[in-house]
Amino acid sequence: MPVNAYPGATDLLRFLPETLLILAGTLIMVLDPLVKRRSSPLFGHLTLLTLIAGIAVAIAGASNPGPAFGGMLMVDGFATFFRVLVMGVGILIVLPSYPFLARQDGETGAFHALLLFSISGQCLMASASDLIIIFIGLEISSISSYVLAGFFRDDKRSNEAALKYFLLGSFATAFFLYGVALIYGATGTINLDAVRRSIGPLRADPPVMIVAAAALMFVGLGFKVSASPFQMWAPDVYQGAPTPVSAFLSAGPKAAGFAIFLRIFLTAFGPIGAHWEPLVWGASLLSMTVGNFAALTQTNFKRMLAYSSIAHAGYVLVALAARSQVGAAAAMFYLVAYACMNIGAFAVVSHLSGRGEKYTDIEDFKGLAQKQPLTAAMLTIFLLSLIGVPLTGGFFGKFYIFRAALESHLVWLTVLGLLNSAVAAYYYLRILVMMYMHEPGPAAEAVEPLSPAMGAALILPALGTLVLGIFPGWVLDFAGKSSELMR
């Protein structure tokens, strides 16, 4: 590994998006005591601007790909794709958080600073090519998410969510770390490229230590992306956390988690793919089944979305099980589509929930279409996309994933996955029935008018979902090219 005592301009440029986010987060912390009001929109504006600038810098940086900091970072198409994705998620989270924080009288300064830090950790995960950076990025993202989940410290549910997320997240981290230790022991390096070179020749009969390392890292990452059988924290956390935070947790950390999942398992562990494929196969099947069947019986909308998020993690794992470029591209496309539709759905809950998050049950959606037809229409788009109806992003996401699985001869997994999607249609449709075929309940009566920020928070992801469904090629081409560059 080359040793640069001082990082050069190229190194710093390739690290610019993260730097921008970190500096903005620190700036907010400095400005926070200067602003008298607890809940001021100023920090939201600042966060939005930073994220837009970050996306611009990340895209501009893609024209000059390559490693930075002596191989610690690898800024390639794959990194750029996920950087843009997680920063985009950030934008979609900031929008609904304006009215939400104003309603709950939350401290906007700390909230947005932690959000920015968390996103910077996820960007770091996306562009890391050394296990130490992956680990630190993971921890930056996770620790700030723990705090965000428990952001309302006087709310019992928020505490509980933070506690469960924290305990199981740290537990998962320990497993991940043990895997890293075994890789270091077996190969003497923690750089992903070097690991790949080192275990490449051992393709046929890898040492037990490397297989064990892959298994341990699978457990650790499985927790982070809430794949079954490591999903038990997700329902409680998504239900208890403040709604915009739940939306963030289901999209941002998850996307970044899948980014390192793909990066580690397809590059470093690529040569021994035959050994870990059954693990992924089993986990994806279990996730889809557990997620979808558990979601059927839920009465709380946030909890239902949590189970559906477990199921969607299962779909993405199908793409990973395919172990191909096409599969990786499909997974990336799916994550974009999923981010749009899921954040949109959570944003609607956030809009409807009222002060103190009183109304989050499925019953509370009764008659929403009569009171606010626009909101109801947007939620319809998201739910149809979550089902996977044509002309929405969800359809093409599932389509590409199952096509990639078929190309890799995973016929049974495809069949079982499709059956699962059919089951899932039931519980999404139930909500549509609630909205359109019932008289307004107390929640729908009390719903406040759409503010501009909330309107944008609903329309942007809806547009994204539709664009992905009508012109899927735009994103898919980008994902395909990015996954080719991943070597």
Binding site: P7, I22, T26, F117, I132, I133, I136, I140, I143, V147
Partner: protein, 163 residues
């Protein structure tokens, strides 16, 4: 000599670790955990990691565990009451422990050619660690500062009193 040292401190570590798990009072568990950390520090010295051994005592035993002790005392947490065990424990425990039994078996079976003796590796001095930290590992080092900032902000956001 090295073998005797290893056996002594490994035994302490295992006994203390078992104690962490079986003691019913959190304070006893915390003290046992400090014992594990202390004996691990000695083993680190044996493996030539003198800086890490010092950091282990200062950071882990001296700061992190004091924080634990502090919270336990502050909350005056009593002995744990045994209740029905949750089903997730059994669900996860059996396969996890199975994996570790397998790993253990593998480690016992494998015989690395090099044995450990004190002074066999001297690259773990403060100077060597510092040099690596500020050249090869500069980026992780700098980024870690964000982590610490988050810890500070997070602890304040969560634990501060309303004024």
């Amino acid at each position: 000599m090295d073998v005797i040292l290893f056996l002594i401190f490994a035994t302490i570590a295992v006994v203390a670790a078992v104690n962490v798990v079986v003691q019913s009072h959190p304070i006893s568990s915390a003290i046992s955990l400090i014992g594990v950390m202390g004996s691990l520090a000695v083993l680190y010295l044996l493996l030539g990691a003198e800086f890490i051994a010092a950091a282990q005592v200062i950071v882990y035993a001296g700061a992190v565990m004091v924080l634990f002790l502090f919270v336990i005392m502050l909350l005056n947490a009593g002995t744990e009451t045994r209740q029905s065990k949750s089903e997730t424990a059994h669900l996860l425990g059996v396969p996890a422990l199975l994996v570790f039994a397998l790993l253990l078996a593998y480690f016992i079976r494998s015989q690395p050619d090099s044995g450990v003796h004190f002074g066999g590796f001297t690259g773990g001095s403060a100077q060597a660690v510092g040099r690596a930290l500020f050249t090869t590992y500069l980026l992780p080092f700098e980024v870690t500062s964000v982590l610490i900032l988050i810890a500070i902000v997070g602890a304040i956001v969560l634990a501060r009193k309303e004024i």
